[in-house]
């Protein structure tokens, strides 16, 4: 293990040196490292500055005692695919696990006819699918992130909405694996558990597990990166991020929900339910955000401005995006850029002639289920947040309100969600 590992690192250094000449950021080294297994002894060194794990420096990082968070720089990129090195990361431990794919096993047990263990080779023998889907943290864009005085307020869209990313994910449908094990009558929930230090666990209904969930080993044509769950993760299209269990190791089929790690994160207080908590908000509603121009950026001058952004919905495909440049008084339809895929980011553009006056710009998504993205006022009304509370950035997750950006006469753009 030791010698293999130092060999790998030597290879990485050589590759990084080569890549440095051409591209600077060690991209070739990252590619070269795909599929290599690093032994447990590599942990301390790997955790320091490995570009393979920590990705592109533009992916801003926040760390605290029990979290590592990276934010996707939505303002910087084009199209719908997030490069793996810029994919957001939300890890509920303080370091990334190092897992030997050769030794890794996925087990399925509980209410099944045949409890089974799968090696990575076993999984790759089974029929594979590749599908483009977004993954979004349930706290993405939460109102606290917009609050006046918050350090994120003046920063780009990255630190407010950058916990959503979109990739082509490859792997085996979970339904195929459950069929191999044979789900027993009466089963209703599927619990999954990761192999990282805190063994993150979450529960999804059996109906969703049998529908479109992928046990993924690939992202954008390469093996998963360590920060994305290498060698295996759950991909639960359209649902809150915490369902997508990384470092996937155990699956248990049961007739009850169970969420030791999820309940605290997933449950949301609902004033409309008498101050009680909703256990889960499974599926994302229709969402969109203008990524350029957005908070912290500056429009060069009056005249033509191409407004662009991303729209998505957990319910299906985006059917329409409207843009307002006058604070929501009037709306015009934006252009959707192909491909427009279900439960995936969709790029929209809107041609705008800026007259140099103060303006508030925002986008509104409608999905193919006919659901329309709400304003923050409408969302608060639905959730029973009223009066003085309604004027504040109340802490709530699962937030899909429209994002208004204010353009000042000098072209500078700021967050107008609560101001």
């Amino acid at each position: 293990m030791e010698s293999n590992d130092s060999g790998r690192r030597r290879f990485l250094k050589q590759a990084a040196a080569l890549a440095g000449v051409a591209a600077g950021a060690g991209a070739t080294a990252e590619w070269a490292a795909r599929g290599q297994s690093a032994g447990p002894s590599a942990k301390s060194e790997l955790q320091q500055n490995d570009a393979h794990i920590h990705g592109d420096q533009r992916r801003g990082v926040r760390r605290n005692i029990n979290h590592i968070t990276y934010f996707t720089p939505l303002q910087d990129y084009e199209g719908i695919i997030t490069p793996a090195s810029l994919h957001f990361v939300q890890l509920h431990t303080s370091y990334f696990p190092v897992i030997d794919a050769q030794q890794h096993r996925l087990t399925i047990h509980g209410m099944v006819d045949r409890a089974l263990s799968f090696s990575m080779d076993d999984l790759k023998r089974l029929p594979a699918v590749s599908r483009i889907h977004f993954v979004e943290c349930q706290a993405n864009g939460a109102p606290m992130g917009h609050e006046n005085g918050n350090e994120n307020m003046g920063l780009p869209v990255q630190y407010v909405w950058g916990m959503t990313s979109c990739s082509e994910w490859s792997g085996v449908p979970l339904s195929v694996l459950l069929n191999e094990a044979g789900v027993q009558a009466g089963a209703s929930w599927v619990i999954s558990e990761g192999a990282e230090a805190g063994r993150w666990s979450h529960t999804i209904p059996l109906a969703k597990a049998m529908d479109d969930v992928i046990v993924a080993y690939g992202q954008n044509g390469e093996p998963l990166r360590p920060e994305q769950g290498y060698p295996l993760r759950l991909l639960v299209p359209g649902w809150e991020g915490l369902n997508n269990v990384k470092y996937l190791r155990h699956i248990k089929v049961v007739d009850h929900h169970l969420d030791p790690t999820g309940v605290n994160h997933a449950a949301i207080m609902r004033a409309d339910l008498g101050g009680k908590y909703r256990w889960y908000h499974f599926q994302w509603g229709p969402k969109s955000v203008i990524t350029r121009p957005s908070g912290g950026l500056k429009i060069a001058g009056r005249g033509y401005v191409q407004i662009t952004g991303l729209a998505w919905s957990g319910g299906g495909a985006v059917s329409k995006v409207d843009v307002s440049t006058d604070g929501g008084r009037s709306w015009k339809e934006a252009k959707l850029q192909a491909p427009v895929l279900p439960k995936a980011h969709t790029r929209f553009t809107f041609d705008w002639a800026w007259d140099g006056q103060e303006a508030v710009i925002q986008s509104r998504c409608t999905d193919d289920q006919g659901e329309v993205q709400p304003s923050v006022a409408d969302l608060y009304k639905d959730w029973g947040i009223a009066g003085e509370e309604g004027k504040k950035a109340v802490r709530t997750t699962h937030f899909n309100a429209m994002q208004p950006w204010k353009v000042a006469t000098d072209g500078s753009v700021s967050n107008a969600m609560f101001s």
């Binding site: 047990h109 089974l116 339904s175 069929n179 209904p205 248990k252 605290n264 908590y277 909703r278 957990g314």
Partner: protein, 192 residues
């Protein structure tokens, strides 16, 4: 009464498609994967359901837990779990369990949790954050007992074990809507 009605109807709806999935759509099998023995499953399965039938034998008291907490947990969670580098684990006080709505910042208090078994499972799998899984079963029972005592949920002389822990009366057991999670959620947009 209103609660039990809300609960029963979706459970019945849920059971029907599950049966249909298992029986009416025979898909071809690929016969890939290695069978797992009960012994192997037992060696890794630490998921504890609300009934607590999977709990390992062991026991612990608030007094034992206080000593372990001071040594292993206090550095992050503060004295008596009142909060420190991370948010509070305690709401209410010995003899006075907190009963009311929880703010978002109070969700980390153990009184928030609807089942005692979730607390045991979580501490067992994920704590202490610097070395998860390093507490023995007895230590987990003791730390849970100590924190439940500080939250006013059990008395100072109560001892928790695999039989008594699932029976602890959690003050926020009915603080969730619906009483147990159901899917699909309700006849509203599914993103609510």
């Amino acid at each position: 009464m209103r609660c039990s009605l809300r609960l029963l109807v979706p459970v019945i709806i849920l059971a029907a498609p599950a049966v249909a999935l298992a029986q009416s759509q025979p898909q071809p099998r690929f016969n890939v994967g290695t069978p797992l023995s009960q012994q192997e499953i037992k060696s890794f399965d630490s998921m504890i359901g609300p009934e607590g039938t999977e709990l390992p034998p062991g026991h612990g008291s608030p007094k034992e837990g206080a000593a372990i907490f001071a040594k292993r947990c206090q550095v992050c969670h503060g004295q008596n779990g009142e909060g420190g580098a991370v948010r509070r684990l305690v709401l209410g006080s010995p003899g006075n369990p907190y009963r009311g709505t929880f703010k978002e910042s109070e969700k980390t208090a153990l009184s928030f949790y609807p089942y005692a078994t979730i607390v045991w499972d979580y501490i067992n799998r994920a704590m202490p954050a610097s070395n998860p899984g390093s507490l023995t079963s007895d230590e987990v029972y003791a730390v849970v007992a100590f924190l439940f005592y500080r939250n006013g949920i059990i008395k100072e002389n109560d001892v928790l074990d695999e039989k008594t822990l699932p029976k602890v009366d959690m003050p926020n057991r009915h603080g969730f809507v619906p009483d147990i999670p159901v899917y699909p959620p309700e006849p509203k947009p599914s993103w609510w």
